[in-house]
């Protein structure tokens, strides 16, 4: 037996009032930690996929939609643009490198992207099995896709038109799996990637067969978007405006659009976290009231412990420890709660967005949350602890 064991026994002796304080704390800590985790995970994921893309050129429409569709592959594209016009922009002296991508089909809900080979390098994609595509209709499959759909090397995939599973299936759209990609924790994990020519072949008339060899005078090929990296970061100010004003194309800057997006739902996150902090403070009050009441109920037993020879400090320590044991376990359980929350949300997101969020590290902000929990434990036990410290045992015993 010792003072700490005694504190724990005291907590379990009052299961109801202890668990109310505990539940409030778990809720508060859990919500804040869940918000922090999701915010960080989504931001990391978004930033991770943003690497090396300074600007996206596509059809006119919503810039956010253009970014979401061609960088994150989660929204519908704004439309198509002419290959020739894109080619002209890519030759501009401000452009460092450019990648043309085009959509057309999907296979069981996963997008088939026609892209230049640089596209895979952009996301540091590595072929795990098989080889790169050489001929049209040969595809590389991202890790999420082959894991979910159990696709193997050499399989034939019959695509459906459009980006949704329900589209009409093409008879001619038979793709052959020639390579499987390593997981890269980026968007290519949930894509099926092929040469632009494959997509053109499916969607254009059959008289384009020799397009590979010759540049036609009237090139009517189209692409969906072009991802651009500038030579100098300075160009980000001038170049998008030039395109938007002087051409019928749209240029969007991913970093602007994403921070705009975060501002939009950041407001909701902020409101929710204020609410969660309020819950934590209420849990502190409930803790204080519990301790204060139990102090009055237990004054004879406190006096008894003192007459047995315990010092004032030992008794005060016991009170503070009772409070801290509750807040710290509230913190730990709150984190656990938030991890289950993250797991739940990410499983939801994976279903609907083909996105995956998984990383279970403890964030710096969560250490602050630990500090806050300890602080709440200290503050709510301060007055009861001082009262116990100043307790007049003789008076209490005389009135027994």
């Amino acid at each position: 037996m010792n003072i700490f064991k005694l504190s724990i026994k005291n907590i379990f002796n009052k299961p109801l009032s202890s668990s109310i304080s505990l539940a409030l704390l778990i809720l508060g800590v859990g919500i804040i930690s869940l918000l922090l985790q999701l915010n960080t995970l989504i931001k990391d994921q978004m930033d991770n996929n943003l690497r090396g893309i300074d600007m996206v050129v596509g059809a006119k429409g919503s810039p956010l939609q253009l970014i979401l569709s061609s960088v994150y592959h989660i929204d519908s594209p704004t439309g198509n643009i002419s290959f020739q016009e894109a080619e002209n922009i890519s030759k501009n002296r401000m452009v460092g490198s450019s990648i043309k991508i085009l959509y057309g089909d999907n296979y069981k809900g996963y997008r088939i992207v026609g892209a230049e080979k640089k596209f895979i390098d952009l996301y540091k994609g590595v072929i795990k099995e098989g080889k790169d595509w050489e001929k049209p209709y040969e595809v590389l499959v991202g890790s999420k896709v082959y894991e979910k759909l159990k696709i193997n090397l050499g399989d034939e995939l019959v695509s459906s038109h459009g980006l949704r599973e329900t589209g009409q299936s093409h008879d001619e759209g038979k793709f052959k799996v020639v390579g499987l990609l390593e997981p890269s924790n980026s968007v290519i994990d949930q894509l099926i990637i092929t040469s632009p020519q494959s997509v053109w072949n499916i969607h254009n008339d059959h008289d384009h067969d020799d397009e590979d060899e010759h540049e036609h005078e009237h090139d009517d090929r189209e692409i969906t978007a072009m991802l651009i990296k500038f030579k100098s970061p300075m160009n980000i100010i001038q170049f998008p405006r030039q395109i938007n004003e002087n051409t019928n194309l749209q240029a969007a800057v991913p970093s602007y659009e994403i921070s705009r997006l975060f501002k939009l739902f950041g407001f909701g996150i902020e409101t929710l976290s204020y609410l969660a902090y309020l819950i934590i403070i209420v849990s502190g009050f409930s803790l204080f009231i519990n301790l204060f009441n139990s102090m009055r109920e237990r004054k004879y037993e406190m006096a008894l412990i003192r007459t047995l020879g315990a010092s004032r400090l030992q008794l005060s320590t016991m009170i503070i420890f009772e409070s801290l044991a509750l807040t710290i376990s509230g913190f730990v359980l709150g984190l656990l709660f938030s991890r289950f929350g993250v797991m739940f949300v990410s499983s939801l997101m994976e279903e609907s967005l083909n996105y995956n969020l998984n990383s279970f590290k403890i964030l710096n902000d969560e250490f602050w949350l630990l500090g806050l929990s300890i602080l709440i434990g200290m503050v709510s036990s301060l007055i009861p602890a001082i009262q116990v410290y100043k307790m007049n045992i003789s008076k209490i015993l005389a009135n027994a």
Binding site: M1, E301, L308, R312, L397
Partner: protein, 207 residues
């Protein structure tokens, strides 16, 4: 062993007590008897070091209590004095055995054999693992005696141990206390208004 001289105490609300001198030799028990309001509880708290007198001196085991700091008194008390209260008090979240272990922990001791011996001697060994609020009144009284003697005090102070008991039980409890004191080598001082106890003690002081 106990020597008090010109002991005086006054509460803030002007209640004033002046106690007669006590001189108790080693190996003797003492009954202090007095009516309500003569300062019995005050005297007991003074002897236990729970209160400090305004003037005079208390010499217990050759130590002057009035010269000790509060923390010295805490430590003196846990090493030398066991207290039996009028109404038994326990730590309610603990079992009988755990209460005794807590008392030992506070005195930096650990001896489960002694706990067993005491509980057997008091006939409540089968209640060891019961919470104290599950005990009957008599069992509570015996458990509180166990708590007072678990750390082998040299002095047991009992405050009105028999006031709510009938004649039969009164005699039982006081004999039990005396027996425990003898068995475990301690001296007993009982402070009470209960005149039935007079016949059980050779040394009696009337306040």
């Amino acid at each position: 062993m106990l020597k008090t001289k010109e002991l005086e105490f006054n509460y803030e609300n002007q209640m004033f007590f002046k106690f007669q001198n006590i001189d108790l030799k080693s190996n003797e028990n003492l009954l202090i008897i007095g009516d309500s309001g003569v300062g019995k509880t005050t005297l007991m708290h003074l002897l236990a070091g729970l209160l400090k007198s305004n003037s005079g001196s208390i010499k217990l085991f050759d130590k002057e209590l009035n010269l000790m700091s509060p923390s010295q008194l805490d430590s003196f008390r846990k090493n030398n004095i066991g207290i039996v209260f009028q109404r038994p008090h326990f730590v309610n979240s603990l079992t009988v055995k755990e209460n005794l272990q807590l008392a030992q922990y506070i005195a930096n001791k650990k001896d489960n054999n002694r706990i067993e011996d005491i509980l057997k001697n008091l006939n409540i060994f089968n209640k060891s693992n019961k919470k104290t609020n599950q005990l009957s009144q008599g069992e509570k009284q015996r458990a509180s005696i166990a708590l007072a003697i678990v750390n082998s005090p040299k002095l047991i102070l009992a405050d009105e141990p028999t006031s709510s008991l009938d004649d039969n039980n009164c005699a039982k409890v006081i004999e039990l206390l005396k027996k425990q004191a003898t068995d475990f080598g301690a001296q007993l001082i009982v402070i009470t208004h209960d005149s039935r106890l007079k016949k059980h003690f050779k040394n009696t002081i009337e306040l």
